[in-house]
């Protein structure tokens, strides 16, 4: 590499300067340097992300026996198998329900909190830290604390309900209440990051817009809906996509709060089914097919999200 660079350098010096070609050479040198510097991350991406992704797609069309170590072509058999499985189909529905309730609700709450925390109030940093804390706390630890709160006999929720004469449900063991309980925990945990992104976006909104609105006599809600929300559109797109991907990949809190898919599979979600198929049933190929379906869902939702909320170019 060094000798090539030297050769190029000597050759350049011996000729009369010709700016366009020199620019091209300079560009080639820069490209080489860029490739060199990018190489570690590219190798990392190919090895740790690219190959597993390709393998997942490949194995989804095979019958791979992980214990015996045999691989046979299976065509679409794995896809037929998973879509004939009621529990997998149920897990897709649960994932959609979970996403539907966690993403918009958490986003709405996060916007309101971000607006409130964008005011000049006392102990602002403490409030911001408090709302962000659930995001940086280990999900398993959070889930364990909530598990105690949901405990039917001695837990906080039923204790409070008992004071007003209500026999609370067995939150995590009742198929009607298990999913709402998991959604509640997930909304609470997800607000922090969304709030932070919205807060950053709010601080980029030019203040003179609000001053102009004040001069026009606009009310608070009017300013919020006419200025704040439209200018938060790029942030909303980002939060929406990231939250949706997160929601479709939910695993930790569901797994800890309601092990084994919850009562009568009432909280089983796609990621848990992938895990169960791979490591409970040792059916790696079917698990790969399920992963491909999950990927397809995320791809479609991301495209729809872009159409609905705007393109990358709009945001800066």
């Amino acid at each position: 590499m060094t000798s090539t660079l030297e050769t190029v350098s000597v050759a350049s010096a011996s000729r009369a300067p010709r700016p366009p070609r020199r620019r091209r050479r300079l560009g080639a040198e820069r490209r080489r340097a860029a490739y060199l510097m990018l190489a570690p991350s590219v190798i990392h991406l190919i090895w740790w992300i690219g190959l597993p992704v390709v393998a997942t797609f490949g194995l989804a069309f095979t019958d791979y026996d992980i214990i015996a170590g045999t691989v046979e072509w299976a065509g679409l058999d794995n896809f037929r198998q998973i879509f004939a499985d009621d529990i997998w189909n149920l897990s897709i529905w649960h994932t959609v329900v979970f996403t539907f309730f966690t993403v918009p609700v958490a986003m709405a709450i996060a916007v309101v909190i971000a607006v409130l925390l964008n005011q000049r109030i006392k102990a602002l940093a403490w409030y911001r830290a408090a709302f962000f804390m659930p995001h940086i706390t280990a999900t398993v630890a959070i889930a364990l604390v909530w598990m105690w709160m949901f405990e039917p006999n001695l837990g906080l929720f039923n204790l409070l309900l008992g004071w007003i004469g209500v026999n609370g449900p067995a939150w995590l063991s009742d198929p009607d209440w298990a999913m709402p309980a998991v959604i509640l925990v997930s909304i609470w945990k997800g607000i922090g990051l969304k709030m932070l992104i919205y807060l950053a976006a709010l601080q980029n909104i030019p203040h003179d817009l609000y001053e102009a609105a004040n001069l026009d006599g606009a009310s608070g809600p009017r300013k919020f809906f006419a200025i704040t929300l439209p200018l938060l559109k790029p942030a909303t797109f980002f939060v929406f996509i990231v939250s949706m991907i997160d929601a479709f990949q939910v695993f930790d809190q569901v797994y800890v709060l309601t092990p084994d898919g919850g009562p009568a599979n009432s909280t089983t979600v796609m990621t848990y089914e992938i895990y169960r198929t791979a490591f409970g049933e040792f059916d790696i190929s079917a698990a790969c097919a399920q992963s491909v379906v999950l990927f397809a869902f995320l791809l479609v939702l991301t495209v729809i999200g872009r159409r609905l909320t705007g393109k990358d170019g709009d945001e800066a």
Binding site: V54, T62, A68, A170, G261, P263, E281
Partner: protein, 428 residues
Amino acid sequence: MTRTRGSRTRAVTMVLVAALLATACGGPAGTTEGDDQASGTIRLLTPIFEGADGKTVLEEQLDAFKEEYPDITVEVDYTSYGKLNEKLTTSIAGGRPYDVMLMGVGWIPPFAAKGALAELDENQQELAERYNERVVEPGIYQGKVYGLPIMLDTRFGLYRKDIFAEAGIAAPPSNFAELREIGRQLTVRDARGKLTRAGVDILSNDLRQTFLPLMWANGGELWTSDGQPAFNSPEAVGALQLMADIILTDKSEDFGFTQPGATGLPLAQGRAAMMVGHNNHLLAIEEQAPELIEEDKIGFFMISNERPAMFQGGTLATVSAKSQRPAAAKALVSFLTDEQASLAANEQRGNVPALNSLSDSDYVQRNPAAQFAMANLDAAYSEGGVPAWLEIRGDFKAAIESVLLGQKDPQQALDELVAKAQAAIAKG
């Protein structure tokens, strides 16, 4: 342009092939020539020496092993039963399986059938002298010994003698009718109807492992003689109906009354009068309410109806068929299953020793649950038995729950379960 497209196609094809090869490079678990010398470094995967205490116990035993076999070094990977499958599959797929793997009763047929386990050089007649026949069976697949038992996890009935005495009940239930009757009698609810004491707790134990001993006690079997699922037989349906009756008809326990992981054991707290439980629940009671053991307030009973039955799980030591050091691995298996090491393992988990000779040990004499289990091993039954068991067993919980929630009747739930099991067996 054409050339570039061709290069890209070739590159993509190469990546695809490389990825598939990289993923599937574990290869079949064939036999290895290995060495005949008990030496070298071997890897052990264990799900039974959990936490700092478990690690200390195993390290003490491995120090003793090192004295006996100075040329063998053991590298240990500690895990739990919850993570065991991940460790096993990824190690096999990665082409570097553990030399010695400790695994549960239901794991032997699936792994042995696919050639992942090495046959152990054990004489079955000698084994019959060292162990109860029921204890040896789960380690045998198609007449060959693949696993030696270290410890047993048994499930049977536990009851509070003090609560029974207060109600004037002289003995624990000896059949299903008595179980229901006593359960109803000992159930307590407050003025608002909230359950404060379950007459019989069938939810604190794993649901499958509660259902199976009930099924066996009712005369049912997991498999027919030709290896087909039999857990939708009238006996099995009767056992599941009993569970449904306890929850839905007698209301001796409410679904969700116990929440494993969040609260202690209801029996220890006086929130249950009896339960289908695990032998090591005695250890939990010792921690939560030691006075119950000191004052002899905990009793045990076999689950009985057509016959007495006890669920017998356990941990067995196996050797990988791909081990490069089979002699060293087998030496470690022999060591871990001998009296000293297995006694230490059982003591730290509150489990039941597999070796007959340990029935007189101080540990067993001090542990009434272990004593009870060892005295009743002739009525012990094990799950597993077919290579597809690990795929089948995961479906039991949801099927049982659907009955306990009144969503399905027992026959329907078990018929659907059997259909899934047949599909799993057919898939191979």
